[in-house]
Amino acid sequence: MDLLYAILVDPFIQMWNGPDFFIQVMWEGFVSGVLYALIALGFVLIFKASGVFNFAQGIMVVFAALSLVGMHEAGVPAWLALLLAIGVMAVLAITVERFVMRPLVNQPEIILLMATIGLTYFLIGFGEFVFGGEPKTMITKELGLPTGSTAFEVGERGLVILQHIDIAAMIMAIIMVTGLAIFFSKTRIGRALRAVADDHQAALSVGISLHQIWAIVWFASGIVALTTGIMWGAKSDVSFALQFVAFKALPVLILGGFTSIPGAIVGGLIIGIGEKLGELYWGPLVGGGIESWLAYMIALIFLLSRPQGLFGEKIIDRV
């Protein structure tokens, strides 16, 4: 009975009694949810267009942020470093398409998954070789991102603190998703992308170049990775530990469905908020640290009722 009370009632009483803390937790969860959603977005772009489950998305985030910071440390001005980092992602996209994706066309998905894990190893080695393994500080000020914070009063005694960088991250995410949505629906390349996502062979037969489209989606998720890297790097440091954030994006993916951009966003927010609430209100019951697997459990429970994710396409098997 006590246990049931501790699980079902007590956390909600705590929430009610400390609204400022609750709002703060919700906000933190919301922000990390946005960042999870951004990483998941990078996954979804590639999965939709080529059916590749890109495990390297996490290391791409690290790699993009590292090349940005690394070039700035080498004396390049911030705006030029940003452009060069975008250039690096473009080169990476073309290289990956040419040397990894193209020879592996039509292989089973597990082989493609393995290839991206191989790519992850390669990028870890390459990144550490070029930029060194120690953590770097993100050049937040030089990029013109805000660093202050604002405090709001909630209720009679509570304070909620909003970091400006978090607000900036949210705005950037909204701009990026809107931009991608317009790109997908209004431009010629965007329509070609959707055609490829729909049916590879039909797209080929009307003269769409798969190679070109794949390079473009890898580049697009490279840009998403760079944005994520800047935002996440500004919150903590730019280090190789960031790639483990990508593991958090996986439950987001299965929750939202591998092929759905709105799914990535909604899933990201559910996981981000659920994880923070769970850790702070229910975590102490089992000794804390449940953040590492709670996201998976949330996703697992959703999956048991909808095996294709919340927004995924229905999986139809033919015998």
Binding site: F99, M114, Y121, G125, E128, I254, L304
Partner: protein, 358 residues
């Protein structure tokens, strides 16, 4: 000319169904066994035994475990590392409770616990397929890692949070702990690995193994033909986790001597997945080859600069090691997605028809 079945007549169904129907294969296997059981113990030094042969056997067994699940039953799992951990911690607790029992028995028994855990985490596979399932097995990985830290009972409440292997006997010989000789540990590891390989190879050829393969190839069709997916999938999870658990217990007790949670993390799971895929899905000999290849390659790369007379810092070697392993994995997947086992088969087929390939 030397490798063909011409003239070897089979006069019974048993002979026709033998694992190695060709006489030369039997001789080859006998030579290999003699090498592993006699030549290596007589010639190898402690370094070779400790850092190459023992880990290779441990990883081979883990790879076979994953191969049962992924290669034969077609269920992708990224939680092998954690299941190995369950085996290791279970064995540690068993040695605490039964200090006088033969350690080999305890190692084999510890797999039962990981089999149980494997069945629980295999339950979602009844609803979820493919890559979605792969991600849900990560739930097992992270949950179990958390449990290994947060449940102090598992490591007997010691301060370091690590499990230290106590000294235990097997058939009156010191088999674990610091004073066990590498040779003893190698022989035990080798025997267990070969024994389980033999069990699995027979399991796969039987009814259970066939039901796994039917589920892998087309689960709905298999269901229509009377295979129960519940039994087939969960038995695959159970057998696979059992083998993974035994190899985890072997890893800690006969190789590392002590282990923390980091010994069973996600990278460990990936390492075994690499071995499984590079070796060849659905092939036992491939498991041996994959484990040997992935384990020995970094050792060779580390030794290469010294052998070539180039001086490189240890950190750069590590980074280059990562790059080379990553690039080689991609290269192998492109060159032969079916793995080393397929290359082996092609080689055997070529040899069979040589010198008249048409």
């Amino acid at each position: 000319m030397f490798y063909r079945e011409a003239g070897q007549f089979k006069t019974s169904y048993e002979a026709d169904q033998a694992i190695f129907p060709i006489l030369q294969d039997k001789w080859g296997l006998a030579a290999l066994a003699a090498f592993a059981f006699v030549v290596i113990p007589l010639t190898a030094n402690d370094f070779v035994l400790n850092s190459i042969m023992i880990p290779m056997m441990v990883f081979t067994l883990a790879t076979i475990g994953l191969n049962v699940l992924l290669g034969y039953a077609g269920q992708l799992s990224l939680g092998t590392g954690a299941f190995m951990g369950v085996g290791a911690y279970a064995c540690y607790k068993l040695t605490t409770f039964f200090p006088d029992t033969n350690i080999i028995l305890l190692v084999l028994a510890s797999g039962i616990f990981s089999a149980g855990v494997g069945i629980i985490f295999g339950l979602p596979s009844l609803r979820i397929k493919g890559l979605y399932l792969a991600v849900t097995t990560l739930a097992a990985q992270f949950f179990l890692e958390w449990a290994f830290i947060r449940i102090p009972w598992l490591y007997n409440y010691n301060d370091s949070g690590a499990i230290e292997v106590p000294q235990r006997l097997a058939f009156g010989i010191i088999a674990t702990g610091p004073s066990a000789t590498p040779l003893t540990r190698y022989m035990i590891v080798l025997c267990i690995t070969v024994f389980i390989t033999w069990l699995v190879s027979n399991l796969i050829r039987g009814r259970i193994g066939r039901s796994w393969m039917m589920i892998r190839d087309m689960d709905i069709a298999a269901e229509l033909m009377g295979i129960k997916p519940l039994q087939a999938k969960l038995s695959a999870f159970a057998v696979s986790s059992y083998i993974a658990g035994v190899s985890g217990a072997m890893m800690v007790f006969f190789w590392l001597g002590a282990a923390e949670v980091e010994s069973f993390d996600i990278n460990h799971s990936f390492l075994i997945l690499f071995m499984c895929i590079l070796g060849g899905l659905g092939s036992l000999i491939g498991s041996y080859m994959g484990a040997a290849f992935i384990w020995v390659l970094p050792i060779l790369i580390r030794a290469a600069p010294a052998a070539l007379g180039i001086t490189v810092t240890a950190a750069s070697v590590e980074h280059i090691n990562f790059m080379i392993v990553g690039a080689l994995i991609i290269f192998f997947l492109i060159a032969e997605p079916a793995g080393l086992a397929r290359l082996w088969q092609i080689g055997k087929q070529k040899l069979r028809v040589w010198p008249f390939p048409y």
